[in-house]
Amino acid sequence: MEPNYQHLYEILANSQGYIFPNEIDLQWGILIVVYPFVTGLVAGAFILASLERVFKDKILKPTYQIALLTALSFLLVATLPLISHLSQPQRAYEIMITPHGSSAMAIFGFVYLWYLMVVLLLEIWFDYRHSMVVWADEKKGIMKWVYRILTLGLSDISPRTLTWDRKLGYFITVVGIPSAFILHGYVGFIFGSIKANPWWSTPLMPIIFLFSAMVSGISMVMLIYMVVSYIRTKTMDINVLDSIGKYLFFVLILDFTIEGLDQIHRIYEAEESFETIKLLVEGKLYLTLFISQGLIGTIIPLIVLAFLQFYKGKIKLRKTLYFIIGILVLIGVYSMRWNVVIGGQLFSKSFSGFTSFKVGLIGLDGTLMAAFWLILPFGILAFLLWLLPPWKMVQEEE
Protein backbone atom coordinates (compact mmCIF):
# COMPACT_ATOMS: atom_id res chain seq x y z
CA MET A 1 0.00 0.00 0.00
CA GLU A 2 1.26 3.47 -0.81
CA PRO A 3 2.67 5.23 2.25
CA ASN A 4 1.06 8.49 1.12
CA TYR A 5 -2.37 7.04 1.70
CA GLN A 6 -1.62 4.65 4.56
CA HIS A 7 -3.04 6.95 7.26
CA LEU A 8 -6.16 7.54 5.19
CA TYR A 9 -7.03 3.82 5.15
CA GLU A 10 -6.65 3.65 8.93
CA ILE A 11 -8.88 6.65 9.47
CA LEU A 12 -11.48 5.58 6.93
CA ALA A 13 -11.76 2.20 8.64
CA ASN A 14 -13.29 4.04 11.63
CA SER A 15 -15.97 5.87 9.67
CA GLN A 16 -19.28 4.60 8.34
CA GLY A 17 -21.24 5.73 5.30
CA TYR A 18 -20.58 9.02 3.61
CA ILE A 19 -18.75 11.75 5.51
CA PHE A 20 -17.08 14.95 4.39
CA PRO A 21 -13.26 15.01 4.47
CA ASN A 22 -13.07 17.53 7.33
CA GLU A 23 -15.30 15.33 9.50
CA ILE A 24 -12.90 12.37 9.65
CA ASP A 25 -11.11 13.79 12.65
CA LEU A 26 -12.92 15.41 15.60
CA GLN A 27 -11.81 19.00 16.07
CA TRP A 28 -13.04 19.21 19.67
CA GLY A 29 -11.81 16.44 21.93
CA ILE A 30 -12.08 15.47 25.58
CA LEU A 31 -10.72 18.79 26.85
CA ILE A 32 -13.68 20.61 25.31
CA VAL A 33 -15.83 18.22 27.34
CA VAL A 34 -13.95 19.18 30.51
CA TYR A 35 -14.27 22.91 29.83
CA PRO A 36 -18.08 23.28 30.08
CA PHE A 37 -18.07 20.78 32.96
CA VAL A 38 -15.61 22.88 34.98
CA THR A 39 -17.32 26.16 34.05
CA GLY A 40 -20.65 24.65 35.06
CA LEU A 41 -19.30 23.73 38.49
CA VAL A 42 -18.26 27.38 38.96
CA ALA A 43 -21.67 28.77 38.08
CA GLY A 44 -23.49 26.10 40.10
CA ALA A 45 -21.36 26.53 43.22
CA PHE A 46 -21.77 30.29 43.06
CA ILE A 47 -25.54 30.08 42.67
CA LEU A 48 -25.72 27.84 45.76
CA ALA A 49 -23.70 30.42 47.71
CA SER A 50 -26.03 33.16 46.48
CA LEU A 51 -29.08 31.23 47.65
CA GLU A 52 -27.74 31.39 51.18
CA ARG A 53 -26.95 35.09 50.98
CA VAL A 54 -29.79 36.60 48.99
CA PHE A 55 -32.57 34.39 50.29
CA LYS A 56 -31.02 34.36 53.77
CA ASP A 57 -31.13 30.56 54.03
CA LYS A 58 -29.52 30.23 57.48
CA ILE A 59 -29.20 26.44 57.31
CA LEU A 60 -26.84 26.64 54.34
CA LYS A 61 -24.45 29.01 56.13
CA PRO A 62 -21.70 26.40 56.76
CA THR A 63 -21.42 25.86 53.00
CA TYR A 64 -21.33 29.53 51.99
CA GLN A 65 -17.56 30.09 52.02
CA ILE A 66 -16.88 26.54 50.82
CA ALA A 67 -19.11 27.21 47.82
CA LEU A 68 -17.39 30.51 47.03
CA LEU A 69 -13.90 29.02 47.31
CA THR A 70 -14.98 26.02 45.22
CA ALA A 71 -16.24 28.40 42.54
CA LEU A 72 -12.95 30.29 42.61
CA SER A 73 -10.81 27.11 42.42
CA PHE A 74 -12.67 25.83 39.40
CA LEU A 75 -12.84 29.26 37.77
CA LEU A 76 -9.04 29.58 37.94
CA VAL A 77 -8.77 26.29 36.04
CA ALA A 78 -11.70 26.89 33.64
CA THR A 79 -9.64 28.33 30.79
CA LEU A 80 -6.77 25.86 31.08
CA PRO A 81 -8.41 22.92 29.24
CA LEU A 82 -9.02 25.32 26.35
CA ILE A 83 -5.43 26.46 26.45
CA SER A 84 -4.00 22.95 26.42
CA HIS A 85 -6.44 22.00 23.64
CA LEU A 86 -5.03 24.71 21.38
CA SER A 87 -2.08 23.57 19.36
CA GLN A 88 -0.51 26.97 20.09
CA PRO A 89 -1.26 27.48 23.81
CA GLN A 90 1.38 30.20 24.11
CA ARG A 91 -0.92 32.42 22.03
CA ALA A 92 -3.86 32.08 24.43
CA TYR A 93 -3.39 35.57 25.92
CA GLU A 94 -4.12 37.14 22.53
CA ILE A 95 -7.85 36.75 23.07
CA MET A 96 -7.48 39.25 25.93
CA ILE A 97 -5.30 41.85 24.22
CA THR A 98 -7.05 41.97 20.86
CA PRO A 99 -10.70 41.32 21.74
CA HIS A 100 -13.09 40.85 18.87
CA GLY A 101 -16.54 42.30 19.44
CA SER A 102 -18.43 40.15 16.96
CA SER A 103 -16.87 36.76 17.71
CA ALA A 104 -18.84 34.61 20.14
CA MET A 105 -15.69 32.69 21.07
CA ALA A 106 -13.75 35.87 21.86
CA ILE A 107 -16.53 37.17 24.11
CA PHE A 108 -15.42 34.54 26.65
CA GLY A 109 -12.51 36.84 27.51
CA PHE A 110 -14.93 39.52 28.71
CA VAL A 111 -17.33 37.12 30.41
CA TYR A 112 -14.50 35.38 32.24
CA LEU A 113 -12.75 38.57 33.33
CA TRP A 114 -15.97 40.13 34.59
CA TYR A 115 -16.89 37.04 36.58
CA LEU A 116 -13.42 36.49 38.05
CA MET A 117 -12.30 40.03 38.77
CA VAL A 118 -15.52 41.82 39.50
CA VAL A 119 -17.83 39.21 40.94
CA LEU A 120 -16.04 36.34 42.60
CA LEU A 121 -12.85 37.98 43.89
CA LEU A 122 -14.76 41.01 45.19
CA GLU A 123 -17.37 38.91 46.95
CA ILE A 124 -14.70 36.79 48.63
CA TRP A 125 -12.70 39.88 49.50
CA PHE A 126 -15.62 41.65 51.18
CA ASP A 127 -16.54 38.47 53.00
CA TYR A 128 -13.05 37.74 54.32
CA ARG A 129 -11.75 41.30 54.81
CA HIS A 130 -12.51 41.50 58.52
CA SER A 131 -10.96 38.08 59.19
CA MET A 132 -7.91 38.81 57.04
CA VAL A 133 -7.23 42.00 58.99
CA VAL A 134 -7.42 40.05 62.26
CA TRP A 135 -5.25 37.22 60.90
CA ALA A 136 -2.66 39.74 59.67
CA ASP A 137 -2.37 41.01 63.26
CA GLU A 138 -2.16 37.52 64.79
CA LYS A 139 0.30 35.87 62.40
CA LYS A 140 4.03 36.37 62.29
CA GLY A 141 6.62 36.37 59.52
CA ILE A 142 5.68 35.88 55.92
CA MET A 143 2.02 34.98 56.55
CA LYS A 144 1.50 38.36 58.22
CA TRP A 145 2.55 40.00 54.94
CA VAL A 146 0.49 37.64 52.81
CA TYR A 147 -2.68 38.60 54.68
CA ARG A 148 -1.69 42.26 54.69
CA ILE A 149 -1.31 42.20 50.89
CA LEU A 150 -4.62 40.33 50.55
CA THR A 151 -6.38 43.11 52.51
CA LEU A 152 -4.82 45.57 50.04
CA GLY A 153 -3.30 47.27 53.06
CA LEU A 154 -6.65 48.38 54.45
CA SER A 155 -6.84 47.60 58.17
CA ASP A 156 -9.94 49.62 59.04
CA ILE A 157 -12.34 47.36 60.97
CA SER A 158 -14.53 49.99 62.57
CA PRO A 159 -18.20 48.98 62.82
CA ARG A 160 -19.14 51.47 60.12
CA THR A 161 -16.65 50.00 57.63
CA LEU A 162 -17.72 46.45 58.50
CA THR A 163 -21.33 47.38 57.81
CA TRP A 164 -20.22 48.57 54.40
CA ASP A 165 -18.41 45.24 53.84
CA ARG A 166 -21.76 43.50 54.29
CA LYS A 167 -23.68 45.98 52.16
CA LEU A 168 -21.20 45.92 49.30
CA GLY A 169 -20.86 42.12 49.52
CA TYR A 170 -24.63 41.80 49.27
CA PHE A 171 -24.67 44.13 46.28
CA ILE A 172 -22.00 42.02 44.53
CA THR A 173 -24.02 38.86 45.23
CA VAL A 174 -27.08 40.40 43.64
CA VAL A 175 -25.00 41.41 40.60
CA GLY A 176 -23.36 37.98 40.74
CA ILE A 177 -26.48 35.89 40.18
CA PRO A 178 -27.17 37.23 36.66
CA SER A 179 -23.40 37.09 36.06
CA ALA A 180 -23.30 33.40 36.93
CA PHE A 181 -26.26 32.87 34.60
CA ILE A 182 -24.44 34.77 31.86
CA LEU A 183 -21.21 32.80 32.40
CA HIS A 184 -22.78 29.44 31.85
CA GLY A 185 -25.55 30.58 29.56
CA TYR A 186 -22.74 31.85 27.37
CA VAL A 187 -21.14 28.38 27.26
CA GLY A 188 -24.47 26.94 26.14
CA PHE A 189 -24.78 29.70 23.56
CA ILE A 190 -21.46 28.67 21.97
CA PHE A 191 -23.08 25.34 21.10
CA GLY A 192 -26.69 26.43 20.67
CA SER A 193 -25.79 29.11 18.13
CA ILE A 194 -24.12 26.74 15.65
CA LYS A 195 -26.96 26.51 13.18
CA ALA A 196 -25.19 24.00 10.91
CA ASN A 197 -25.32 21.37 13.65
CA PRO A 198 -28.84 20.08 14.40
CA TRP A 199 -27.70 18.29 17.57
CA TRP A 200 -26.57 21.62 19.06
CA SER A 201 -28.62 24.29 17.40
CA THR A 202 -31.48 25.03 19.80
CA PRO A 203 -32.25 28.20 21.75
CA LEU A 204 -32.84 25.95 24.76
CA MET A 205 -29.15 25.06 24.86
CA PRO A 206 -28.04 27.95 27.18
CA ILE A 207 -30.87 27.10 29.59
CA ILE A 208 -30.06 23.39 29.52
CA PHE A 209 -26.42 24.17 30.21
CA LEU A 210 -27.38 26.52 33.01
CA PHE A 211 -29.59 24.07 34.85
CA SER A 212 -27.17 21.18 34.45
CA ALA A 213 -24.49 23.56 35.74
CA MET A 214 -26.55 24.29 38.84
CA VAL A 215 -27.14 20.57 39.37
CA SER A 216 -23.43 19.77 39.13
CA GLY A 217 -22.31 22.75 41.22
CA ILE A 218 -24.76 21.97 44.03
CA SER A 219 -23.66 18.31 44.08
CA MET A 220 -20.00 19.28 44.07
CA VAL A 221 -20.38 21.67 47.01
CA MET A 222 -22.37 19.01 48.89
CA LEU A 223 -19.60 16.45 48.33
CA ILE A 224 -16.87 18.91 49.27
CA TYR A 225 -18.76 19.88 52.43
CA MET A 226 -18.96 16.19 53.37
CA VAL A 227 -15.30 15.49 52.61
CA VAL A 228 -14.09 18.63 54.39
CA SER A 229 -16.16 17.75 57.48
CA TYR A 230 -14.74 14.22 57.37
CA ILE A 231 -11.13 15.42 57.10
CA ARG A 232 -11.64 17.92 59.93
CA THR A 233 -13.32 15.10 61.95
CA LYS A 234 -16.35 17.31 62.53
CA THR A 235 -19.83 15.88 62.38
CA MET A 236 -21.56 17.10 59.29
CA ASP A 237 -24.90 18.75 59.88
CA ILE A 238 -27.66 16.57 58.42
CA ASN A 239 -29.90 19.65 58.17
CA VAL A 240 -27.37 21.21 55.80
CA LEU A 241 -27.36 18.07 53.66
CA ASP A 242 -31.17 17.87 53.70
CA SER A 243 -31.37 21.49 52.66
CA ILE A 244 -28.84 21.09 49.81
CA GLY A 245 -30.59 17.86 48.83
CA LYS A 246 -33.90 19.73 48.59
CA TYR A 247 -32.41 22.36 46.27
CA LEU A 248 -30.71 19.63 44.24
CA PHE A 249 -34.03 17.80 43.92
CA PHE A 250 -35.90 20.86 42.62
CA VAL A 251 -33.15 21.95 40.22
CA LEU A 252 -32.77 18.38 38.94
CA ILE A 253 -36.50 18.24 38.21
CA LEU A 254 -36.23 21.49 36.21
CA ASP A 255 -33.12 20.25 34.43
CA PHE A 256 -34.75 16.94 33.54
CA THR A 257 -37.92 18.66 32.34
CA ILE A 258 -36.11 21.12 30.10
CA GLU A 259 -33.81 18.49 28.59
CA GLY A 260 -36.81 16.22 28.09
CA LEU A 261 -38.69 19.08 26.45
CA ASP A 262 -35.78 19.62 24.08
CA GLN A 263 -35.76 15.95 23.06
CA ILE A 264 -39.55 15.70 22.72
CA HIS A 265 -39.48 18.80 20.54
CA ARG A 266 -36.74 17.25 18.42
CA ILE A 267 -38.60 13.96 18.08
CA TYR A 268 -41.92 15.58 17.21
CA GLU A 269 -40.41 18.01 14.68
CA ALA A 270 -38.43 15.14 13.12
CA GLU A 271 -36.52 17.39 10.75
CA GLU A 272 -34.35 16.02 7.95
CA SER A 273 -31.52 15.41 10.40
CA PHE A 274 -33.68 13.27 12.64
CA GLU A 275 -32.90 9.87 11.12
CA THR A 276 -29.17 10.43 11.65
CA ILE A 277 -29.63 11.70 15.18
CA LYS A 278 -31.85 8.74 15.98
CA LEU A 279 -29.11 6.38 14.82
CA LEU A 280 -26.60 8.41 16.81
CA VAL A 281 -28.42 8.25 20.14
CA GLU A 282 -29.38 4.60 19.70
CA GLY A 283 -25.86 3.65 18.69
CA LYS A 284 -22.73 5.55 19.58
CA LEU A 285 -24.35 7.63 22.35
CA TYR A 286 -26.49 4.84 23.85
CA LEU A 287 -24.29 4.24 26.89
CA THR A 288 -23.44 7.85 27.67
CA LEU A 289 -26.92 9.23 26.96
CA PHE A 290 -29.45 6.67 28.18
CA ILE A 291 -27.44 4.82 30.79
CA SER A 292 -24.93 7.33 32.12
CA GLN A 293 -26.76 10.65 31.73
CA GLY A 294 -30.36 9.48 31.88
CA LEU A 295 -30.48 6.54 34.26
CA ILE A 296 -27.42 6.98 36.50
CA GLY A 297 -27.24 10.78 36.43
CA THR A 298 -30.92 11.73 36.48
CA ILE A 299 -33.56 9.04 37.09
CA ILE A 300 -31.89 7.24 40.01
CA PRO A 301 -30.90 10.50 41.80
CA LEU A 302 -34.43 11.85 41.28
CA ILE A 303 -36.03 8.77 42.79
CA VAL A 304 -33.64 8.68 45.75
CA LEU A 305 -33.92 12.43 46.37
CA ALA A 306 -37.71 12.20 46.24
CA PHE A 307 -37.53 9.37 48.76
CA LEU A 308 -35.27 11.47 51.00
CA GLN A 309 -37.83 14.30 51.03
CA PHE A 310 -40.11 12.02 53.04
CA TYR A 311 -37.77 9.59 54.75
CA LYS A 312 -36.36 11.13 57.90
CA GLY A 313 -34.96 7.95 59.42
CA LYS A 314 -31.40 6.90 60.05
CA ILE A 315 -28.97 9.80 59.64
CA LYS A 316 -26.10 7.55 58.59
CA LEU A 317 -28.14 6.08 55.73
CA ARG A 318 -29.19 9.54 54.56
CA LYS A 319 -25.58 10.76 54.58
CA THR A 320 -24.45 7.75 52.56
CA LEU A 321 -27.28 8.25 50.08
CA TYR A 322 -26.45 11.95 49.65
CA PHE A 323 -22.81 11.06 49.04
CA ILE A 324 -23.67 8.48 46.37
CA ILE A 325 -26.23 10.78 44.76
CA GLY A 326 -23.65 13.58 44.57
CA ILE A 327 -21.25 11.35 42.69
CA LEU A 328 -23.96 9.95 40.37
CA VAL A 329 -25.18 13.43 39.47
CA LEU A 330 -21.62 14.55 38.64
CA ILE A 331 -21.16 11.49 36.41
CA GLY A 332 -24.47 12.32 34.72
CA VAL A 333 -23.55 15.96 34.06
CA TYR A 334 -20.11 14.99 32.78
CA SER A 335 -21.82 12.53 30.40
CA MET A 336 -24.19 15.29 29.28
CA ARG A 337 -21.19 17.46 28.33
CA TRP A 338 -19.71 14.47 26.51
CA ASN A 339 -22.95 13.80 24.63
CA VAL A 340 -23.18 17.40 23.50
CA VAL A 341 -19.55 18.03 22.57
CA ILE A 342 -18.53 14.64 21.17
CA GLY A 343 -22.02 13.58 20.02
CA GLY A 344 -22.39 16.71 17.92
CA GLN A 345 -19.27 15.85 15.96
CA LEU A 346 -19.87 12.13 15.40
CA PHE A 347 -22.41 12.42 12.59
CA SER A 348 -21.71 13.85 9.17
CA LYS A 349 -23.42 17.07 8.12
CA SER A 350 -24.33 15.12 4.98
CA PHE A 351 -26.63 13.12 7.34
CA SER A 352 -25.38 9.96 5.57
CA GLY A 353 -22.52 8.80 7.73
CA PHE A 354 -20.68 8.72 11.05
CA THR A 355 -17.14 9.11 12.19
CA SER A 356 -15.78 7.76 15.46
CA PHE A 357 -13.84 9.20 18.35
CA LYS A 358 -10.98 7.57 20.17
CA VAL A 359 -9.55 9.44 23.16
CA GLY A 360 -5.79 9.56 23.29
CA LEU A 361 -4.07 8.89 26.60
CA ILE A 362 -1.12 11.24 26.45
CA GLY A 363 -0.43 14.58 24.80
CA LEU A 364 -1.87 18.04 25.26
CA ASP A 365 -5.30 16.79 24.14
CA GLY A 366 -5.39 13.43 25.95
CA THR A 367 -7.10 11.75 28.88
CA LEU A 368 -4.25 12.33 31.34
CA MET A 369 -4.32 16.04 30.58
CA ALA A 370 -8.11 16.10 31.10
CA ALA A 371 -7.73 14.21 34.40
CA PHE A 372 -5.06 16.67 35.47
CA TRP A 373 -7.32 19.68 34.83
CA LEU A 374 -10.12 17.96 36.76
CA ILE A 375 -7.88 17.21 39.76
CA LEU A 376 -6.01 20.53 39.89
CA PRO A 377 -9.02 22.56 41.21
CA PHE A 378 -9.13 20.32 44.29
CA GLY A 379 -5.48 21.13 44.96
CA ILE A 380 -6.23 24.84 44.62
CA LEU A 381 -9.28 24.44 46.86
CA ALA A 382 -7.20 22.70 49.55
CA PHE A 383 -4.75 25.59 49.42
CA LEU A 384 -7.51 28.21 49.58
CA LEU A 385 -9.18 26.42 52.52
CA TRP A 386 -5.82 26.46 54.29
CA LEU A 387 -5.20 30.13 53.47
CA LEU A 388 -8.75 31.31 54.15
CA PRO A 389 -10.29 28.74 56.54
CA PRO A 390 -14.04 29.45 56.84
CA TRP A 391 -14.11 27.80 60.28
CA LYS A 392 -11.56 30.27 61.70
CA MET A 393 -13.35 33.37 60.47
CA VAL A 394 -14.17 36.16 62.86
CA GLN A 395 -17.81 35.79 63.84
CA GLU A 396 -19.85 38.93 63.51
CA GLU A 397 -23.19 39.60 65.06
CA GLU A 398 -25.68 40.59 62.40
Partner: protein, 154 residues
Protein backbone atom coordinates in the same frame (compact mmCIF):
# COMPACT_ATOMS: atom_id res chain seq x y z
CA UNK B 1 -23.37 65.81 56.58
CA UNK B 2 -20.33 65.13 54.47
CA UNK B 3 -20.75 62.56 51.71
CA UNK B 4 -19.25 59.29 52.93
CA UNK B 5 -17.18 57.02 50.70
CA UNK B 6 -16.36 53.65 52.31
CA UNK B 7 -12.57 53.14 52.50
CA UNK B 8 -12.93 49.74 50.76
CA UNK B 9 -14.16 51.45 47.62
CA UNK B 10 -11.26 53.88 47.36
CA UNK B 11 -8.80 51.04 47.99
CA UNK B 12 -10.43 48.82 45.37
CA UNK B 13 -10.58 51.71 42.90
CA UNK B 14 -6.84 52.10 43.39
CA UNK B 15 -6.24 48.35 42.87
CA UNK B 16 -8.35 48.36 39.70
CA UNK B 17 -6.58 51.48 38.43
CA UNK B 18 -3.21 49.75 38.90
CA UNK B 19 -4.49 46.60 37.20
CA UNK B 20 -5.97 48.49 34.24
CA UNK B 21 -2.82 50.60 33.80
CA UNK B 22 -0.70 47.45 33.87
CA UNK B 23 -3.00 45.87 31.30
CA UNK B 24 -2.78 48.87 28.97
CA UNK B 25 1.03 48.91 29.23
CA UNK B 26 1.25 45.15 28.56
CA UNK B 27 -1.20 45.40 25.70
CA UNK B 28 0.90 48.07 24.02
CA UNK B 29 3.96 45.84 24.33
CA UNK B 30 2.24 42.62 23.22
CA UNK B 31 0.08 43.65 20.27
CA UNK B 32 2.13 43.15 17.08
CA UNK B 33 2.92 46.31 15.08
CA UNK B 34 1.09 45.20 11.96
CA UNK B 35 -2.07 44.13 13.81
CA UNK B 36 -5.13 45.67 12.16
CA UNK B 37 -3.26 46.68 9.00
CA UNK B 38 -5.77 44.88 6.75
CA UNK B 39 -8.29 43.44 9.23
CA UNK B 40 -8.56 41.86 12.67
CA UNK B 41 -5.25 39.99 12.37
CA UNK B 42 -1.51 40.58 12.16
CA UNK B 43 -0.71 42.02 8.75
CA UNK B 44 2.66 40.25 8.61
CA UNK B 45 0.93 36.87 8.86
CA UNK B 46 0.24 37.19 5.12
CA UNK B 47 4.00 37.15 4.53
CA UNK B 48 4.34 34.15 6.87
CA UNK B 49 1.71 32.31 4.88
CA UNK B 50 3.71 32.73 1.70
CA UNK B 51 6.67 30.93 3.24
CA UNK B 52 5.57 27.27 3.52
CA UNK B 53 7.13 24.82 1.09
CA UNK B 54 5.00 24.08 -1.98
CA UNK B 55 4.03 20.41 -2.41
CA UNK B 56 1.41 20.43 -5.14
CA UNK B 57 2.43 21.64 -8.58
CA UNK B 58 -1.03 21.89 -10.13
CA UNK B 59 -2.25 20.18 -13.31
CA UNK B 60 -0.79 22.79 -15.67
CA UNK B 61 2.75 21.84 -14.65
CA UNK B 62 2.00 18.15 -15.39
CA UNK B 63 0.68 18.96 -18.86
CA UNK B 64 3.93 20.65 -19.87
CA UNK B 65 5.38 17.15 -20.33
CA UNK B 66 2.40 14.74 -20.23
CA UNK B 67 -0.17 16.29 -22.57
CA UNK B 68 -0.71 12.93 -24.34
CA UNK B 69 -1.93 11.31 -21.10
CA UNK B 70 -4.34 14.15 -20.54
CA UNK B 71 -5.64 13.71 -24.13
CA UNK B 72 -6.17 10.01 -23.40
CA UNK B 73 -7.88 10.82 -20.06
CA UNK B 74 -10.29 13.24 -21.74
CA UNK B 75 -11.79 10.39 -23.79
CA UNK B 76 -13.02 8.45 -20.74
CA UNK B 77 -14.79 8.74 -17.38
CA UNK B 78 -11.77 9.86 -15.31
CA UNK B 79 -11.66 13.06 -17.37
CA UNK B 80 -12.50 15.37 -14.45
CA UNK B 81 -9.99 13.85 -12.03
CA UNK B 82 -6.80 15.84 -11.86
CA UNK B 83 -3.35 14.22 -11.93
CA UNK B 84 -2.41 14.82 -8.30
CA UNK B 85 -5.59 13.23 -6.95
CA UNK B 86 -4.04 9.80 -7.60
CA UNK B 87 -0.36 10.59 -8.05
CA UNK B 88 -0.09 12.71 -4.93
CA UNK B 89 1.82 15.97 -4.54
CA UNK B 90 3.98 16.48 -7.64
CA UNK B 91 6.11 19.53 -7.07
CA UNK B 92 9.21 17.46 -6.24
CA UNK B 93 8.85 15.47 -9.46
CA UNK B 94 8.29 18.62 -11.53
CA UNK B 95 11.47 20.24 -10.29
CA UNK B 96 13.67 17.11 -10.36
CA UNK B 97 12.18 15.31 -13.36
CA UNK B 98 12.96 12.05 -11.54
CA UNK B 99 10.32 9.33 -11.93
CA UNK B 100 11.04 8.14 -8.38
CA UNK B 101 9.73 11.43 -6.98
CA UNK B 102 6.10 10.77 -7.89
CA UNK B 103 3.78 8.08 -6.55
CA UNK B 104 2.31 5.57 -9.02
CA UNK B 105 -0.30 3.71 -6.96
CA UNK B 106 -1.23 0.31 -8.36
CA UNK B 107 -2.82 -1.62 -5.48
CA UNK B 108 -6.38 -2.94 -5.45
CA UNK B 109 -7.01 -1.10 -2.16
CA UNK B 110 -6.07 2.19 -3.74
CA UNK B 111 -8.71 1.87 -6.45
CA UNK B 112 -11.05 0.63 -3.72
CA UNK B 113 -10.92 4.02 -1.96
CA UNK B 114 -13.42 5.19 -4.59
CA UNK B 115 -14.63 1.97 -6.18
CA UNK B 116 -15.26 -0.34 -3.23
CA UNK B 117 -18.98 -0.93 -2.71
CA UNK B 118 -20.40 1.67 -0.32
CA UNK B 119 -24.12 2.10 0.20
CA UNK B 120 -23.71 5.83 0.72
CA UNK B 121 -22.09 6.31 -2.71
CA UNK B 122 -24.20 6.50 -5.82
CA UNK B 123 -23.57 3.57 -8.13
CA UNK B 124 -24.70 5.73 -11.06
CA UNK B 125 -21.97 8.30 -10.38
CA UNK B 126 -19.09 6.04 -9.30
CA UNK B 127 -18.95 2.46 -10.50
CA UNK B 128 -18.42 0.21 -7.49
CA UNK B 129 -17.39 -3.43 -7.07
CA UNK B 130 -16.56 -5.66 -4.11
CA UNK B 131 -12.78 -6.01 -3.92
CA UNK B 132 -13.26 -9.38 -2.24
CA UNK B 133 -15.22 -10.76 -5.21
CA UNK B 134 -14.13 -8.88 -8.36
CA UNK B 135 -11.26 -10.74 -10.14
CA UNK B 136 -9.44 -11.45 -6.87
CA UNK B 137 -5.69 -11.95 -7.08
CA UNK B 138 -5.29 -9.59 -10.04
CA UNK B 139 -4.34 -5.94 -9.95
CA UNK B 140 -6.94 -3.55 -11.32
CA UNK B 141 -4.46 -2.04 -13.75
CA UNK B 142 -3.89 -5.43 -15.40
CA UNK B 143 -7.24 -4.94 -17.17
CA UNK B 144 -8.06 -1.23 -16.68
CA UNK B 145 -5.85 1.63 -17.72
CA UNK B 146 -6.43 4.16 -14.96
CA UNK B 147 -6.22 6.98 -17.50
CA UNK B 148 -8.81 5.29 -19.71
CA UNK B 149 -10.72 2.82 -17.50
CA UNK B 150 -13.17 1.45 -20.07
CA UNK B 151 -10.61 0.80 -22.81
CA UNK B 152 -10.01 -2.72 -21.51
CA UNK B 153 -6.59 -4.29 -21.97
CA UNK B 154 -6.54 -7.76 -23.51
Amino acid sequence: MKFYIPPQLTRLALAFAIFITLFIVLRNLLVPDTFGQYGHYRGDSLIDNQQPEIHYSGQEACLDCHQEIEDMKQTDVHNTIRCEVCHGPGEKHVSSGDAADISKPDSREFCGVCHEKNAARRQSTIVQIRLSEHNTGKKCIECHNPHQPWEMKE
